[in-house]
């Protein structure tokens, strides 16, 4: 991939160095009405596919101009100008603001719209700001970029993913809170399949008015991504490259060797006499040896390395009146900070548009992606492994039994060396789209999409690995997932010209969508040798799994937009969806929405008011649905339960522990939204303020059922959940002078999640009962669905406390104290209280400073009032001195702590309540310094624009939550989480 990228650059470069015809260059400066130079004005030679853009000082140079050529100057928000070249070599231009706008075109569901005409709640993301993060995780790029959009870090590993929640969790279903991702009009199952440098715009649809057109998948909002297209008259080659180094960032210390020894000694101290046990009792002979030699291990240092990212993007775009092309090649490679973790991805994209006849237009999109993800072996506990270990022998070779020969635990570094885990992903997308314009007002579009993703995962644990040794002779796992999606849409658009006062637009769509997953896994062992890894021959089949699932969706929808005098806008949509995952007689759902907007600034009485450039009020009301459940939940499914008789496998089955619900139907979210869009004081400020209330009914609730039934769980429709929130965003061009500009952006979001009703059943006292769902989450009326339900932490027992009269009469000074709510002298479920984990609010402040050719961008992200359980502090082994972890000033009889418990040889009670910690934070997420080389210097070497930049990500974080990141718990899946990193990037962006 790397080679081919280089090759293409050379081809492109050689194409550029061609002989120039006899003619001259024209240069000049473009300024606005206040004589402030304009950056990025398109200067195009009319009729030819070439041109340039202005630099920071508003300067441009166009070569190869002959007299009579027409230069076209265009810039968003300004009225375009054409200048015919007579013979002058300098043409200075002043562009006049287009009052109509600053009125960008935004993408909405099944179409585009002028921003001023948008009736629903739609946020546009600043793509340049968003893509300043060196990752393939596009979700992370949206963090702090739009009001109401919350991003939760999923996995920080190379190729990892994050979860996006728009306006709070509206669903209790497992896959029920992911927004619908639409890329170029096509539903994507993964946002990260888009290469960041291909993105032209991102819009977030938040209220029912804008999302109802996506019906049953839209209750969590919709993210619309549009990739770059060719533009008529401009041919451009762009090359963007950066390299990033990553290092771990954290706010806690581990115990070093001698501190760890003290911890272990303290833990084993007799509680009554205060005597220490002899070391011989609490350390193994091997540990005693390491203590004597003072050979301690810092696992973090040993395991973690510096991560490196390299990214290259090369794109080509061109366009004529009839044909427009955009094509790109991207290559991204990352070696994570944990050895054996890496991600390599190459993508190719072709966006093609061709007008076949006056009436028939063809659009095609072709994406191809090839990626490899390598993962370290599971359970790499570098934060919790004991420092009393010896991973290397005298010769620096890895030792298998690193805790001495009597302990069978295997050196994690040894296991790393003896394992591979790689996933190879192949993705192919084909989108063919034909539009036939019957008249200028009536068109029909056929939109088809086919996606194939093949994921091949191979895991091998060699015959020396702890999972493959002891007579197993290597374990291999081969897993193959084939994901197939087919979409066909028939779209009719009718847009009659009635008269100047009325405008009407009608859209009708019929669509079907099918997604199929085929999963095959084979586990095998008994490899003749390790040489071929998982590709080798094995003698024993340990497991074979085959899973095929399918979901289908059939939809009909219509939308009517009407506007009167361009002041009063009305929009109505309706959609009917049938989904296969629901029960036989509940397949269909209906989702209507209406919205109204008043463009007050268009009223005659406001036309004279200069301080108000725009003032628009919007309200909307509508319903959307959720089908975020797995297939087969309405059907009775049996699980494979084979057994063995006389050493032979015998097939067995039993009904799965999920009881089917033959009446399962949609979850419906009804949203009210009201907002104001404004632009004030001669465009100095613009912003949006919004309020919403979304009520979800018929919750797809997974409910635990009595163990006496023999089942665990059933999903059924009951209850109501409410999300209510407030959002504000504000942009300002505070300072805008010739040499210096300062742009400020503020985003603020607040959401309150609350359960309104559940099953309606009551307990003995007539109070509504709580429901525990299958993930162990406790749902209770009046509480958020994101909560921790535990006793309330109440400090550490001190000498002299009334322990006998407390909730834990057996406690000793130094133990964790929790509140005995019912005062019965015992701590159990009935003493639990709810702790909301959702943030009170979150937001960001972005600043862009331009000084001459320099650009400084700083982005600060806030999360306030969030709560998270710290699973290292909650781990009883830590307080036993059995594992390492977050270092604390723990309680000792000599120095009684009021914050941290006393180490003890058994697991402390109530460590979980103790470990519930505030996870609020403030973080300098991005700091970028860029420099644009002046145009006059560049044009001589055939370069249009050249920018070099340096970016730091996660440079500063202020938080009390002790971890690698306040977004993540230290431990996950039995090992240390893949730490989030601090990144330093340098890069360049060249346009020819």
């Amino acid at each position: 991939m790397k080679k081919s990228t280089c090759l293409l650059i050379i081809i492109f470069l050689s194409g550029l160095i061609t002989a120039q015809a006899q003619s001259y260059s024209v240069s000049g400066t473009v300024v606005d009405e206040n004589n402030v130079p304009l950056l990025g004005v398109n200067v195009i030679v009319k009729g030819e596919s070439r041109g340039t853009t202005t630099d920071f000082d508003g300067n441009y140079i166009v070569d190869d101009i002959s007299t009579g050529d027409v230069l076209e100057f265009s810039y968003l928000g300004f009225i375009a100008q054409e200048v015919t070249v007579s013979s002058q070599q300098t043409i200075d231009v002043q562009l006049i603001t287009d009052s109509e706008a600053l009125d960008e075109v935004v993408v909405v569901g099944y179409g585009t719209q002028r921003k001023s005409n948008v009736v629903g709640s739609v946020s546009s993301v600043e793509v340049d700001e968003a893509t300043a993060i060196p990752t393939t995780n596009v979700s992370e790029m949206l963090r702090g970029r739009a009001a109401g959009v919350q991003v939760n870090l999923g996995s920080a590993r190379p190729g990892g993913e994050s979860n996006i929640v728009i306006r709070g969790n509206v669903s209790v279903a497992p896959n029920g809170n992911s927004p619908l991702i639409i890329v170029d009009g096509l539903p994507f199952d993964n946002l990260n399949d888009v290469a960041p440098s291909d993105i032209a715009s991102i819009e977030i649809l938040k209220d029912a008015a804008s999302t109802a057109i996506y019906g049953s998948r839209a209750s969590n909002g919709v993210i619309l991504v549009t990739t770059k297209r060719g533009v008529e008259g401009i041919t451009r080659i762009n090359y963007n490259a950066y390299t990033t180094t990553q290092s771990v960032t954290k706010n806690f210390n581990l115990y070093d060797g001698s501190q760890f020894i003290d911890l272990r000694r303290e833990a084993n101290r007799n509680r009554f006499t205060g005597d220490y046990l002899r070391d011989e009792n609490i350390f193994s002979p091997f540990e005693l040896e390491t203590i004597e030699n003072r050979q301690f291990v810092n696992w973090e240092d040993l395991v973690l390395r510096e991560g490196v990212i390299q990214s290259h993007s090369l794109s080509f775009s061109s366009g004529t009146e009839k044909t427009k092309i955009f094509s790109s090649l991207n290559y991204f490679t990352q070696n994570g900070i944990i050895p054996n973790s890496s991600y390599d991805r190459g993508t190719f994209k072709l966006n093609l548009e061709h007008q076949i006849t006056d009436k028939l237009t063809f659009r095609g999109i072709f994406n191809y992606q090839n990626a490899t993800q390598d993962q370290e072996t599971g359970g790499l506990n570098f934060t919790t492994i004991t420092p009393l270990a010896r991973p290397f022998d005298e010769n620096g070779e890895l030792v298998k039994f690193y805790l001495g020969n009597s302990i069978t635990a295997v050196n994690p570094l040894w296991d790393q060396r003896e394992s591979t885990d790689e996933s190879k992903i192949n993705l192919t997308d084909v989108n063919l789209n034909l539009t036939y314009n019957f008249t200028p007002f009536l068109s029909y579009t056929l939109n088809t999409f086919l996606r194939n993703r093949n994921t091949n995962r191979g895991i091998y644990r060699s015959s020396l690995h702890s999972a493959g040794d002891e007579g197993i002779d290597g374990i291999g796992v081969l897993a193959n997932t084939l994901f197939k999606q087919v979409l066909v849409e028939n779209i009719v658009n009718y847009n009659p010209q009635i008269n100047d006062d009325h405008s009407l637009e009608i859209t009708g769509v019929q669509a079907f969508d099918e997604q199929e997953n085929q999963f095959t896994q084979i586990d095998k062992s008994g490899f003749t040798n390790d040489a071929l890894g998982y590709n080798g021959n094995a003698t024993t089949l340990l497991a074979n799994v085959r899973n095929v699932s399918q979901r289908r969706l059939l939809s009909f929808l219509a939308r009517v937009r009407y506007s009167y005098l361009n002041r009063y806008l009305l929009e109505a949509t309706a959609r009917a969806d049938g989904a296969s995952v629901f029960a036989a007689n509940n397949k269909w759902g209906y989702f209507p929405a209406v919205s109204f907007a008043w463009k007050m600034h268009e009223e005659p009485f406001l036309e004279a008011v200069e301080s108000i450039n725009e003032m628009k009020f919007r309200v909307s009301y509508g319903a959307t649905g959720n089908q975020g459940i797995n297939s087969l939940e309405s059907l009775g499914v049996a699980n494979d339960r084979p057994y063995v008789f006389n050493g032979q496998t015998v097939g067995g089955s039993t009904a799965s522990s999920r009881l089917p619900n033959p009446n399962l139907k949609w979850e419906t979210t009804t949203t009210f939204n009201a907002g104001v869009d404004f632009r004030l004081f001669n465009n100095l400020f613009d912003g949006t303020v919004e309020y919403y209330k979304a009520n979800t009914t018929d919750l797809l609730l997974d409910r635990s059922i009595a163990g006496t039934t023999g089942f665990n769980v059933i999903r059924f429709n009951v209850g109501e959940l409410q999300n209510e929130g407030f959002e504000a965003s504000l942009n300002s061009n505070f300072i805008s002078t010739e040499n210096f500009r300062w742009t400020l952006g503020l985003i603020f979001s607040k959401n309150r999640n609350e359960i309104i009703s559940l099953t309606g059943e009551t307990d003995d006292n007539g109070n509504p009962i709580d429901i525990t769902d299958s993930s162990g989450r406790r749902l209770s009326i009046g509480q958020s669905i994101n909560n921790i339900w535990l006793p309330k932490y109440d400090g550490i027992y001190q000498v002299g406390d009334d322990i006998a009269g407390s909730g834990n009469p057996l406690a000793q000074p130094g133990d964790v104290r929790v509140v005995d709510q019912d005062g019965n002298g015992q701590i159990d479920d009935r003493d639990n209280v709810f702790i909301n984990t959702d943030p009170d609010w979150y937001g960001s402040i972005t600043n862009t400073f331009n000084y001459k050719n320099f650009e400084l961008f700083a982005d600060v992200y806030f999360v306030q009032g969030a709560t998270r359980l710290n699973s290292v502090l909650a781990n009883g082994e830590l307080w036993k001195g059995a594992i390492n972890g977050i270092r604390t000033k723990y309680y000792t009889p000599e120095f009684p702590s009021t914050q941290y418990p006393r180490p003890k040889p058994d697991t402390h009670l109530h460590l979980f309540p103790f470990a519930v910690r505030d996870a609020s934070y403030i973080r300098l997420r991005t700091l970028t310094l860029g420099y644009n080389l002046p145009n006059n210097a560049l044009s001589k070497i055939g370069i249009d624009k050249l920018k070099i930049y340096a970016t730091g990500n996660n440079l500063l974080t202020f938080t009390d939550f002790r971890s690698y990141s306040p977004e993540q718990d230290l431990l996950s899946n039995g090992g240390t989480s893949f730490p989030e990193t601090r990144d330093i990037t340098i890069g360049t962006n060249i346009t020819f």
Partner: protein
């Protein structure tokens, strides 16, 4: 508008309209949710083939507690940990023996391990109910085939209900399979003892009538196992003549006999003494496991100088709970007792590592560096961790001695217990000579001197020696009303009891603990007045 009208009538528009309607006309089929790679429950419980595979599924479910490795494999050891024969040394299993776990509603051990028993055995019962209902409804099936399915399912159901009853006392029984329609008709009250025992009796009587003594496949319910269980049910109800009759039937069936002491727990347990076992197989689909029972119950001898893990010493071991002084003394009563010689139990770990050999010791000599001091914690902790006798009843001698993951079949019911049930039943019926005959059959097999007198203590002592750590002790003491007294006298060992950081568990022990607490999360899902066992609140 004219333009539109003309287009409405135009051919092209018509074609589109047809396309639209065509793609929706078969929507019912199009939107059907299909089982593409799963078996449907309907098939499973409505055809002979399905039912037979569902019966196999019952055996697999019945294995789940043993192969559960959560909390270091503590779940299958809760009964052992709670008995009067064990000492909790360290680890999760020991928390149950120290009553920090599993003895109150609020503790984690109740919410996890105790709950696992409730859930697992009720699951087996529901699936057995579904099989029994399905088999009864089958038409056009060979009667023997139907009865075989019914007999195995009923034996499994009776076994599960009997376990639940003895553990939790306040249980609810039903023979109705759960459906989406009835799942929320939650039990409002416990079932009466009479209801419970009449179901146990009728299930087992059916099983006895229809099962063979030697099933085609080892590990399935046999007539011997069903009769053994029937005897246990009978003696629980103090129906001594029925218990004696069932014991006699098994003992005299000609299909079962006591093996030698070495053989009882050797190999795959497929021998004349085994009545019921749970099957495992290394690296085989359906082979389950592994289990780490042995690792929990053999001392961590390899931490001592001069010893490395070996098959002779009992393989990989951590020594979380093990034999306490009470049962060790019982086994030491007779110097010729073979059960200590690395057959049932291991009393001596031998030096086998020349490089670490302490001064004055020879290879092959028993480890004797530590002393079970009555007061010095420094001494007795090392003794318990490294030198205390261990249990070999679950030891898989075929895996590497460094591997704690074992795939040995697990003994559930065996003939030695049948003899001891017979002995107790005859004693209660006043037939002491027959009682002694049965008791001494077990004693002489272990190479101990025959007893000449019989009383309940003698039977309980012999049961302790013979059956310790097989999971029956706790039930036996509960049945005979001795649980509280024996635990107060013997639980753990006094030096350990005094050293636990939370204080002596004997101070926590209460008589009501003879019933396990019904986990609060289960009580919450039952009817509002469903009775918790007395004492837990």
């Amino acid at each position: 508008m004219k333009i539109i009208k003309s287009y409405l009538l135009s051919k092209k528009f018509f074609v589109i309209l047809i396309a639209l309607t065509f793609s929706t006309s078969c929507q019912d089929d199009f939107l059907e949710d299909k089982l593409l790679s799963d078996t449907s429950v309907d098939f499973l419980y409505s055809s002979p083939e399905g039912l037979e595979s569902a019966v196999v599924g019952l055996y697999a479910l019945n294995r789940t507690i043993y192969e559960d490795l959560s909390l270091n494999g503590a779940f299958p050891l809760i009964l052992q940990a709670k008995s009067d024969l064990s000492v909790g040394i360290t680890g999760e299993a020991s928390l149950y023996s120290r009553l920090l776990w599993g003895a109150s509603l609020g503790d984690y051990g109740t919410a996890s391990g105790i709950n696992a028993y409730w859930v697992t055995y009720y699951r087996i019962i529901d699936r057995a109910n579904a099989i029994i209902r399905g088999a009864e409804n089958l038409t056009d099936v060979d009667e023997d085939r139907r009865n075989q399915i019914l007999a195995e399912a009923k034996a499994m159901r009776a076994n599960s209900y009997f376990i639940l009853y003895r553990l939790f006392n306040n249980i609810f029984i039903t023979t109705e399979p759960t459906t989406p329609e009835n799942a929320f008709d939650v039990p409002q009250d416990k079932s009466s003892e009479e209801e419970i025992f009449s179901l146990l009796r009728s299930d087992l009587d059916f099983a006895i009538e229809n099962l063979d003594y030697s099933p085609e496949e080892f590990g399935r319910w046999s007539q011997g196992a069903a009769r053994h269980l029937r005897a246990k049910v009978a003696i629980w109800q103090e129906d001594y003549s029925e218990a004696a009759a069932q014991a006699d039937a098994v003992i005299n069936s000609g299909n079962h006999s006591l093996t030698t002491t070495e053989q009882v727990f050797a190999g795959d347990l497929n021998h004349s003494e085994t009545l019921f076992a749970v099957n495992f197989e290394f690296q085989t689909i359906g082979g389950g496991g592994p289990h780490i029972l042995n690792w929990n119950m053999v001392s961590s001898y390899a931490e001592a100088p001069g010893l490395v893990q070996s098959v002779e010493n009992g393989g990989a071991a951590a020594g979380f709970i093990s034999l306490n002084k009470y049962v060790i003394d019982l086994l030491n009563d007779d110097p010729n007792d073979e059960r200590r010689d690395g057959t049932y139990y291991i009393f001596e770990y031998e030096y086998n590592d020349e490089s670490g050999l302490p001064p004055g010791k020879e290879l092959g000599e028993p480890l004797d560096l530590y002393e079970n001091s009555e007061t010095d914690q420094n001494e007795f902790m090392l003794y318990y961790r490294r030198q205390n006798p261990g249990v070999l009843k679950f030891f898989d001698a075929t895996v590497e001695p460094t591997d704690r993951n074992h795939f040995k079949n697990i003994m559930i019911y065996r003939l030695a217990e049948t003899y001891l049930i017979g002995a107790e039943a005859y004693m209660m019926l006043g037939n002491n000579s027959k009682a002694l005959e049965y008791l001494n059959a077990v004693r002489t097999r272990a190479n101990t001197d025959p007893a000449s007198e019989i009383n309940l203590q003698a039977i309980l002592d012999e049961r302790a020696r013979e059956l310790a750590f097989e999971g029956q002790r706790w039930y036996t003491l509960k049945r005979t009303g001795k649980l509280y007294e024996f635990l107060l006298d013997h639980m753990n060992n006094d030096n350990m009891n005094e050293s636990y950081p939370e204080g002596n568990p004997k101070n926590i022990l209460r008589e009501y603990m003879e019933n396990w607490p019904i986990p609060q999360q289960q009580i919450d899902l039952l009817g509002p007045n469903y009775p918790q066992n007395e004492g837990y609140n």
